[in-house]
Structures are given as C-alpha cells and as structure tokens.
C-alpha cells in the first residue's frame, strides 16, 4: 500500500471502508462512464425520452413502434451514467492545529476523515481531488480515480500541516473553489468554520448555485465545545497570536451559549442549502463516523 494512505488508514479500516460507497444525491458530470446519474443523454439502459429524428442521427436509434403509430420518425434517448468527481476541501489554518491533551489535532483528524472518504471514492472507481487552503489555496489537485493519486493527495496533506499564525479565509477560498470546479461535483469540506458565519453561508450557497453537492464535516475539539478550563489563564489565539486574560469559570456559561448558537447557525445554513452537515469531534473514532455517515447517506438516498 502506498505511503500516504498507510499514514492515515490501517488495513482493518481499509477493509471496513472498502464495503462502503459514496453516492451523490444530485446529478454529476464525469468524463467516464459510471454509476452516477449524468445530466447528459447517453447509452445506458435507462430510457429517458423521445426526440424527433434529424439528419445525422444514427438510424438504429429510430423507434419504429412510434413510427408505426404516428408515421413520423422519433429516436429514443437514454440516461447517461457517469463517474463521480469528489473534491476534498481541507482547512489548514492555524486553528485547525489545535489539539487538547493527547488527542490528535483537528487538522490531523480532518486528514484521517479525508483519507477515509477518498479511499471509499477511489474504490468505487470515482475520482477524487484536493483543495488545501487557509487564507488562500495552498494546493489543488484535479480529480483522478487511482489509488496512486489518492496516495499523492494524502501525502500533500501530510506535508502541509497548519502553521501557527496562519489566518483563515474559508469563505473566499470556497468561492474560488466553486468557480474553479466547472463540472457538477461533490465537494466534501473539512473545516472548523472559524470565519464570518454569513460569508460562509454565501460561499456554500455558491456551491449550490454551481449545482455541486456539498458535505460539510465541521471538525471541532471537545475543549472548544465544552471549554472545561478551571484556572485563570491567558489564552492565545493560534491564528492571529492575540491574547486574552480570562477566568474560564466566570465565562464558561456565556461561552457555551455562544458556541451552541454557532453550531446551530452552521447546521441551519446547511439545512437551508440542502447540504449534509456533520459535527466531527476529535474524540470520536473517525472511521466509525465515516462508516455511520455513509451508511446513513446510502439509506436515505434509496
């Protein structure tokens, strides 16, 4: 097995993941034949509609039964089926480097999630690409459907860990990504979304406008949710190095209320835009999360 995949996934996890599939809920545009619905008409067995015969059409497609009834020439058209192109958008801002205690950092957790999703995609002969960003796009790999490509992709992730002081500009980067991916694809976003909420909402809406299907994995550390600190301390912002002296016990109630509102706002944005929103806590086993999510997605798409 290639080095990038082995870094994030064990053989047992690979075996479990190989039985899963990631389907797009929307029609997608691929360049290969596959099992995902395409907006184009092609040569599948799924009948779509009739069209009047024009010169140049293959006479073998003329529906003679219709000619018999109407004495006019119509050709039969069939649904085109194509492959899925999945883009993994991973946030590598400094805040993603936060890790409480012995837990893995949010970025590391996001890489594991991306590896698992990417493996499932490639195993289904779909294509996977990468967009690694913070305040700008650090790496963009076009979608391809080989394990070698996936391995390279994960190596890129491993080689670009978050650096302290790296700010985030999720919204603007997502706009760029939405513009750069022309054909309908599935965008899987891994981020803590520590940016302006309204701007992120607009960026996500941009994806929908471009007919992309979006899955958002909101990666957070448990300490960011619960704020369990007890002693007074000076907290330093990992992105802008700003410092703030607070007594956590005195602020805990207000902090938790604000975070609860933030989570609800993110969830609501995704629901409004018909996207999948998933909260990924870094204390959860990532493979279980992916497995549970994909099974549920498959069940709901039937």
């Amino acid at each position: 097995m290639a080095g990038g995949i082995a870094r994030y996934l064990t053989p047992e996890q690979l075996q479990r993941l190989s039985r899963l599939t990631l389907n797009s809920r929307l029609v997608v545009e691929g360049n290969l034949a596959g099992r995902h619905r395409s907006p184009l008409r092609g040569a599948s067995t799924e009948f779509a509609d009739h069209r009047a015969y024009i010169e140049g059409d293959d006479p073998r497609r003329i529906d003679w039964k219709v000619f018999g009834r109407t004495e006019r020439y119509f050709v039969r058209r069939y649904e085109d089926e194509t492959n899925l192109r999945v883009y993994l958008a991973v946030d590598r801002s400094a805040s993603m480097g936060y890790a409480s205690g012995a837990r893995r950092s949010k970025y590391d957790y996001a890489c594991h999630l991306a590896a698992a999703i990417g493996y499932v995609v490639v195993k289904a002969r779909d294509s996977v690409g990468l967009c690694l960003y913070s305040d700008r796009t650090h790496a963009f790999l076009a979608a391809r459907n080989t394990l070698v490509h996936l391995d390279n992709l994960l190596s890129v992730l491993a080689d670009h860990p978050p650096a302290l002081g790296t700010p985030t500009a999720t919204a603007s980067t997502l706009h760029e990504l939405a513009e750069s991916v022309r054909k309908r694809a599935l965008i899987v976003l891994f981020s803590d979304l520590f940016d302006d909420g309204e701007a992120i909402h607009h960026a996500l809406a941009h994806f929908r406008k471009q007919h992309h299907d979006v899955i958002l994995f909101h990666v957070l550390d448990p300490d960011e949710i619960d704020f369990p600190f007890r002693r007074g301390a000076e907290f330093e912002d990992m992105e802008n190095r700003e410092r703030l002296l607070v007594d956590p016990r005195r602020l805990a109630a207000e902090y938790r209320a604000i975070v609860a509102d933030f989570l609800e706002q993110c969830r609501k944005s995704c629901v409004d835009l018909n996207m999948d929103y998933r909260l990924a806590r870094t204390d959860q086993p990532f493979d279980r999360l992916v497995q549970a999510y994909l099974e549920e997605r498959k069940r709901l798409s039937r």
């Binding site: 007074g232 301390a233 330093e236 938790r256 929103y277």
Partner: protein
Amino acid sequence: MWTFLNPLFLWAGLAAVIPLVLHLFQRRKIVRIPFSTLRFLKLAERKSTSRIRLENLLLWLLRTLLVLFLVLAFAGPVIRTTGLGRWAPASRRDIAIVVDGSASMHYETGFLRVWETVRQTAAQRIRELRPGDRASLFLAFDAPRPLIEQPTSDTELLLTLLNAQKPQPTTSRLKPAFEAARQSLRDSGTREREIYLLTDGQAMAWRDFLEEVEEEPKAAEEAADRRTTVFILLAGAEQPENATPFAASLEPTFLRANQAARIKASIRFSGAARPTSAALLVDDQEVARRTVDPGEGTQQEIVFPIPPLAAGRHAVRIELPPDPLALDDVLLAVIHVRDQLPVLLVGRDRDLFFIARALNPPDTPSGLIVHTADPLELADQRLTDYACLFLCNAIPLPGQALQAVEHYVRNGGTAVVFPGDRGDPGDYDAWTLLPAQPVAIRSVPPLDASRTLRLLRPDDPLFAGLRLPPGSAPTLAVTRRLEFGPIHPDGQILLVMGEQQPFLLARRVGRGRILLCAVPADRSWSTFPLSPFYLPLLHRMALFSTGAGAARLYLEPAPVLDVTDLLFGLPDPLDVTAPGGSILSIRFVTEEGREARILEQASEIGIYRMTSSEEPLLALNMPREESDLTPVDPERLRRHPWLKGAVVAKSREELNQQVTAHRLGRPLAELFLWLALLTAALETLLAARACRRVPPLSTQLSLDPSGRLVPTPPRQPAP
C-alpha cells in the same frame, strides 16, 4: 468615643490590602494557553464584563471587610457610654455597696456559699478604688445596718469591716438599704456615682421595690436619681432548691402529762420539689419519721404523733435531710407539758355547784385546776392562763368582759356557754360569735320532759374516745330549754335531744371554738347534771380545748422578744443560756399597764435553756419566710424607676464585665466577630455563585454516531 483593649492588633489592619495584593500577584503568575480562536471568548467576555466587574468589586469589598472585621474584633474595640474612656483623665468616683446579710445568703452554690461570692465581689470593688475614689458600705437586714455611712477612701478599713461580717438569721429588705446608700452619695457633687446591690436574688428582699411599682409608680418616678448607676448582682442559683419545715402546731395546745398528742408540721418547697423525709425528735430521741411527697404543690402538711410525755419542758426538732440552705432544715420547738390544766368557771356559787364538782371530783384526781370567778370580775381575769372557760348562767356580761371573752376565743380559747335564769334571749344579742342566736326560752310539758341525747357528729374531736358508764342511757328530763334561731353558716349541731331539738352547738371562731348548750349546767332546767353523760362530756370539753394562752412553740429573732407566755409557773428573775453559751437575763417590764417579760439580744438560732436547771425554755428559729427562695425577675426590677438602666448580672464574672464595660465602654469584639462571620458567609455564597458549575455543552447537544446534530427543541415557557 472609641478605644481599643488591644490596640496593637490594629496594625493587622494592613492585612486589608491582602485581597488586592493577591489579585495583582495572580495576574503576574498567569498561565498562557494557546487556543484555536478567541472569537467566542471575546464575545463571552463582552457579554459578561459588567457582571464580572460587579462581582469582582463585591468580592473585593467583602474580603477587605472580612479582614477589617477580624482585625477590629481582635483589637477589642469598646465604645464609651459615659465618661471619656481609658485615655481621658479619670474622673473621681463614689460608690456605695449594699450587701444582703439575710439568712438565705447561706445558700450553697457549688463550692461557695452565696455570701462568699457576694463578699468577694464587694471586696473586689473596694480594692479597685483608685486614689481619690471613695466607698460606703451597708448591710441589708430588715433595717439597713451602715458599716461605713459616709464614703471613705480608707480601703483597709472597708475591707476589715467587710470581712468581719457574716449573714444573720433574719430576712432582708433591700429598698431601705438602697435608700441609705443613695443618701450616702448625695454629697458626691460631680463625682461619678455607683451603687452596688449584692444579693442572692431572692424575690422576698425586693418586695418593697416590686410593690411600689404596682402601687405608686408616679411617686417612685419622681424619686428616681438619674445620676447614679446601679449595679445589681443576683448571685444565687437561678433555680434554687430548698425544703424547710415551715410551721408547726401542737394539738391540743395545752398538753397534760401522759397525754397523747400530735404535732402538725408544714413543709414548704422552693424550686423543684422532690420527695423527702421528715423526722421528729423529742429530747434528741427520734420518735417519728414521715415521708413527704410534695406532689404538684409547694407545701405539704404532715402529722407526727407525740407519745405521752412527762410534765416539764421538752425540746423538739423537726428535721429534713440537708439541702443547699442547711440553716432552715431544722425547726426547733419547746413543748410545755403540764401536770394540771387550769380551767375557769364563771358564775355564782350555786350555778357552779354541779360543774365544779364534776370537773374536780373530791376524791379523784382529774388533772384539772378549777378556778372560779364572778361574772362581774371576769374582766379582771387574765383569760390566757386558762385552757378552757365555762360561762354558767353568767349572761348578761359587762361589755368589757364580753370583749375579753370574744378576744380569748378568737385567739384560740374555748368558751362553753350554759344558759340560766339570769339572762333573757335578748341578752344574747350582744354576742356575735354564737353558733346560733337564742330566740326564746321554752317550757317543756311534763309529759314530753324525757329526752334522749343523740350524737349528730360522732367524729368531732370533742367526742373522741368518749365512753359512757356501763348501762347508762343518755336520757334527760327537761323542763325548759333554749330555742335557737337559724344556725350560723360556720356553726354546727353536735348533740340533739329528742328528735331534732339542738342540745349542744359549736362554732369555730378564729383559732378558737365556742360551745352553746340548750340547758344550764345545774338542775334548774333539766336533769343534765345527774346524767352519766355530764361528767365525761365536761372533761372532754376541758381537755380538748384549744387554749388561747398556750405557750408558743418557737420564736423568730427580733431585737426584743416578749417571752411572757413561755414563763408560766416560773419564778422571776430568770437567766437563760443561749445556744452559744452566753447568759442572758429576762427582764420584767410594765408597758401601758401590762406586765411583760422580755428577752433582748437573742439573735442566735437554737434552744435557749434556763441557766439554773438546764431545762429548755424557748426555741429560736430562722425566719421562715426567708426560706422562700423564689428568685426575682430582673425584668420586673428594671421596671422600677429607681432601677431603670440598672446593670443586672447573675455572676461575679458577668458583673465584672459589666462594670468594665460601663467604666471603659461597651465591648464590640463579639459584634465584629459576628459581622466577620456574616461577611465570610456572603463572600462564600457570592464566590460560589460566580464560579458556579455549568453543565458541559456536550451533554446538551444531541449528536448521533454519524455526526448529525439534532436540533434541541426550544424550551417551553413555564406555565
């Protein structure tokens, strides 16, 4: 004005900056924690800044106050109520000390007698006098006894006099002593004045104060002196326990040799009454013992039988087990047992023929000495010398004689009235003590003359043990008889003749008794003198008469004791030996034409004996009202205008504190400790509230395994 008992502790007030210093110090040793973003923290801080600032300010204030209160409490602040405090020039002070010297001061509380506590307190007040201060000293008895009447600064003299005193077997009245103390301070000018009333707290000693408040509050208000501070020490037990033989009486009061009798004793309890036992000792030999169960009451009557005693005087003791006030556990008495009882027959010779022979048979010793007197001479007789008085056809009596008889009966004598031809029913109108008023003298027809006597009240003491001669029948032949009007409510018919006609009536008057017969004591109206009932009935009347002139069993101390009744049959002059061995003389005095024998300077408790024969003569007991140790209510005392603002203490230590508080000021250390406690409690509450635990957000989020966040349903508003 403020002053501090431990001013050095005020330096500890600098510790009030400790909370601030700790706060600043904490800032410097802050821990730095890298965190993903501060955006939420900033929002949270913005929302709670004003709250946290207020909480911080309150916490800082409370912590500073806590330190300050503790410092103040340990510094011992006192606030002066009068004067200018410890550091101001000391003003001169005059004090008057009144020490209760009554018998109840012998009460033992723990290891000390109340007297010792009070004496030591007085001595401490004297020793605390500063140069220029003065003191006067009084003992409170029934009348105040000044030891130093004018204030003096000679503390040695004061202490010597005080230490030479001891409680006397008397009661005490504190108000006259208080007035004497106030009087002694009237020339004190601008000096500070203090009166100390040092007593055991017995309510009896305060009765003048308590009664005055109820009777003449305005007069007491006008006489109040606002310049003098009164300190009261109630050093006795708060719930004293005491039992005492309170009183004793002899039945019959005239006791003849070899005659059984009984002593009735009252046992009184103060405080929690417990069952106890009482013993009767005659001539130091125990003759009876009784259990005394007080039940719910405070007084219990017990009766001791007295065996027949030889003629003479006998010392009697009624003893209870020892209790904290041992002085009143014994009641001493002297019983005079006589060879013969004197009775007086009033009437003319022919009227007394039968009765004189019946009471004093020629050949048989009756134990009675019969004296006779004409009705006109009755006023000259000293009736108290006689156990019983028989009036035979003696009515009408001169007014003075009638008054003497009534006085005799009221004071415990027995008078027996037999009618006769001399008096009409109207002559009885002047008598107010008869059991029934005679309304007529009725002649009885010969055919109805025979009457049988019948006892209506066989349980009356008069008939106790009455035995008629064998074969005799109580039947009379009556020719005339007195007819009576309505029976007095206190009167009763003892004997009837025939079916319903009263024969002998009785009525209790005061401590005595009067008997009225329907027929004379001679044969002029009936055959009563010939009846076998006649002689025993008359003897019972004489023997079981109450006897107004019976000698008192015991006396209580007084400056002058009238002992006339105790010297019956004894020659003059007479010397007596006091219990302590000193010899006192009984003096003969004539006062307003009345002869009396008096004993002076008898203040020792015990049996006084005749010096010549060692025979007991009189018993002197502690005043029994002094045994009532019911404590006074300090609140009632404070209602008296003279004692308004008085400082009342229940122990020597408390009094010392109160005196110090008065002279130096009121101590506020305890108040500051309470404030510190309250502040600490508030600080704890506020700090706990500020750092209250809020449930983690994770427990409130509904997160399924696939990471889906289920929206929490909005809370329903409370109905």
